[in-house]
């Protein structure tokens, strides 16, 4: 039954827009994440005074810069159909190595280089094992996680505080965006990394091959694509990102400790999945993962503004969201031919 004879232009039903060619199906989860973010933010703005201030938004980035960086690396891995459970432990190891070598008097630039090299080497090793021994990434990176976490305590069992002036000044430096809003260098680094990742994953042959491997590894091999290079490469990228995140985390905490970033790999995976990347591989966007992290961050902010709820409610909210998004993806994939 049509009640109105004249079609209303520009008011097509949401479903039609989503199904239209102009918005490919795979973008829908990303849009959903964005809508969710706006909604959550709206709830905060409506309920709490001061929620809309620029600094709240800036803090969202400041407090989650390291998570953004890990999520970016994780996106590469998950797009190929893999998983990297070692990232949290590598973050901890990076803070530990950075703090210990700074305490030993090594110059800051050398320390940064050392940590980056260590992270990528760990990633490379895991990638090699995964590809050439054909072992599930889950197991290999689980082993990597235990190794990295254990190594932290080989370096030292106590928390080591960072007193290096370069690190300290870098950590505390504020970049003013306006009169009341400022961000840290961590945010700049994280966002720059996002930009580079968008370019690599979406625009280069390396990135496109990663999607092909995630879509069908056997097809990619038969198509003559450099599967080995890409499959190993994504773990190197993830390892490197973990090391960068570790450096940002040590700036954030100004200490190195073996119990830093426990469970952070799961936060990263949750962000990536909420951001619309399929765990089975082949579909996903770097920007989606960024949005995923921001959703996690805004939930945390909401709960701290609320004041009476324990911060563990964040976990419950994240769990619920994760389930919701996975189910949504499944329903969505089923509907496709």
């Amino acid at each position: 039954m049509t009640t109105s004879a004249t079609p209303v232009k520009g008011k097509a039903p949401l479903g039609a827009i989503l199904r239209g060619r102009s918005v490919p199906g795979r973008v829908v989860p990303v849009i959903a994440t964005f809508v969710l973010f706006v909604l959550l933010f709206g709830v905060g703005a409506a309920r709490y005074e001061g929620f809309t201030s620029g600094q709240v938004v800036a803090n969202l980035f400041i407090d989650n810069a390291f998570l953004i960086v890990i999520a970016v690396g994780m996106t590469f891995v998950i797009v190929t159909g893999g998983i990297d459970l070692s990232v949290g432990a590598v973050v901890a190891l990076s803070t530990m190595v950075a703090a210990a070598s700074l305490r030993a008097g090594l110059p800051a630039p050398l320390v940064v280089l050392l940590v980056l090299l260590m992270g990528s080497t760990l990633g490379l090793l895991m990638g090699l094992v995964i590809h050439y021994f054909e072992i599930q990434p889950f197991i290999v990176t689980l082993a990597g996680m235990f190794l990295a976490r254990g190594l932290c305590f080989v370096v030292g069992v106590e928390s080591i505080s960072i007193k290096d002036p370069t690190f300290r000044s870098f950590a505390t430096a504020a970049i003013p965006l306006s009169q009341n809003v400022s961000i840290t260098w961590s945010v700049v680094i994280a966002l720059a990394l996002v930009a580079v990742a968008v370019w690599v994953l979406h625009r280069t042959r390396f990135g496109r091959t990663a999607y092909a491997v995630g879509g069908s590894e056997s097809s990619a091999t038969l198509m003559g694509l450099p599967v080995a290079k890409v499959k190993i490469g994504v773990y190197v990228i993830s390892g490197l990102c973990s090391a960068i995140a570790g450096l940002l985390f040590s700036l954030y905490m100004l200490s190195g400790y073996g119990l830093h970033a426990v469970g952070m790999e799961l936060d990263a995976i949750a962000s990536v999945v909420i951001g619309g990347t399929l765990l089975s591989g082949g579909v996903g966007y770097v920007l989606g993962s960024l949005l995923g992290v921001l959703v996690l961050g805004v939930i945390q902010t909401l709960i701290s503004f609320q004041g009476t709820l324990s911060s563990w409610w964040t976990k419950i909210a994240i769990g619920t969201l994760l389930l919701l998004f996975i189910v949504m993806q499944r329903v969505f994939m089923r509907r496709q031919p």
Binding site: T209, G214, S219, A220, G282
Partner: protein, 521 residues
Amino acid sequence: MSVDAKQAPREAGRAAVVQMRGISVEFPGVKALQEVDFRLLPGEVHALMGENGAGKSTLIKALTGVYTPTAGVTLLDGREVSFSGPADAQDSGISTVYQEVNLCPNLTVAENILLGREPRRFGAVDGRACRARAAELLADMGLHIDPGSVLAEHPIAIQQLVAIARAVAVDAKVLILDEPTSSLDQDEVAELFRIMRVLRDRGVAILFVSHFLEQVYEISDRMTVLRNGRLVGEHLTADLSRLDLVSLMIGRELGALAEVERLAGQAGEEASTVPVLQATGVGRKGSVAPFDLQINRGEVVGLAGLLGSGRTELARLLFGADRPDSGQVRIDGKALHLRSPRAAIAAGIAYCSEDRKGEGVVADLSIRDNLILAMQAANGWARPIPRKTKDQLVEKWIKALDIRPADPDALVGKLSGGNQQKVLLARWLITKPKVLILDEPTRGIDIGAKTQIQKLVAELAQEGMAVVYISAELEEVARLSHRVVVMKDRSKIAELDQHATVDDIMRLIAHVDERSEAVAA
């Protein structure tokens, strides 16, 4: 009909692109190919023919470097070559499109065509140039789809064509199409053939493998026939009648087959006319065209046809392993809703799969456990069968079918093929089915066990069981059956009475041939 398809191959003055001489491929204990010669000329569609196991895929794999021949040489453009794998062969201009589409469904059409060879700008993939180039390639093939669309959105047929577009995008000299039509419907096949002709006229040498005789006759210029790993002959398609082709593939002279006698005592027995199973208009799109079939008490109905003719598919529909999308099945006059094998088993239908290992016996369980499986399923999980009953039953059936070793605890995986088949059969017989469907029960088993199983089938029928007997060996079907249903190109084309001979069946399979030959003459 298209005249250009029937054109005699323009052979004069053309050197072969691919020349394979004396190719042998051996695996431990198996000679998959023995001294096969094969050549492929530019600008022709060359069909590679043979029954299952004749060595078609082995030859293709030997050509594309998947297998290394134990003897023989392969020349490409007159130079001796040896490829390390499909990617290497592709770099030399030999592209292969497989039966299953080997593309990435999550990427766009353009990406699938150009992946690994994308036009780039400043180190980044130039998406626009990519789509433009893909559109150009697709337009060349007369295919107008949006190169920016995701591959998974398109039907399999289009995906198949995209795979071909990728194959020719590398300037392929040789295009190998391995069963490209098995999942396509008629219009889609016509589209594929149109594109094949375009490519052929451009000088591409096309190697085409298909089980569909009509398609082979429609598109190919020349064919090479293999049987049991040996070259039987190379013929111009126009010179070889379908009847001759079928006998080359199956390997018998028609005259000799005419003498085949039925089992004594079998021919005289008339089956009852009490229907057990009646199927009307049962079919499934893309699997088997709707068919009618009646099976009477105590009757053996043979299903004959070449591989891929729809024999197994028909059986799977009757068993509910694939869901029919049209028609109705009645058992003893009662309508049966064939939702699942469970429903079929409950109604008294048993099905012994042709894939013994994959879909039949459980290799890691003992003979006893395998025998009890079907019965337990019929009995319901909640009612355990007492150990004593089990033992008696198992002993009885091991003796009845002469299963060796006669040890109930022997693992089925360790038995010979014939004995595995007997276990599978016994498993179903324990449940006392009304209709027993046997799919290639004698394939790959030794001659002694073969006769035992055939005798058993005859006895079961005499006792009143209705049996559907599927076999690629036409003699076997003709000898055992009271009626023979002939399948071709996924539909039932005829039903013969018990006096049917192998000749009759072969003529039917090659039927269209005689008609079209008569027209041509």
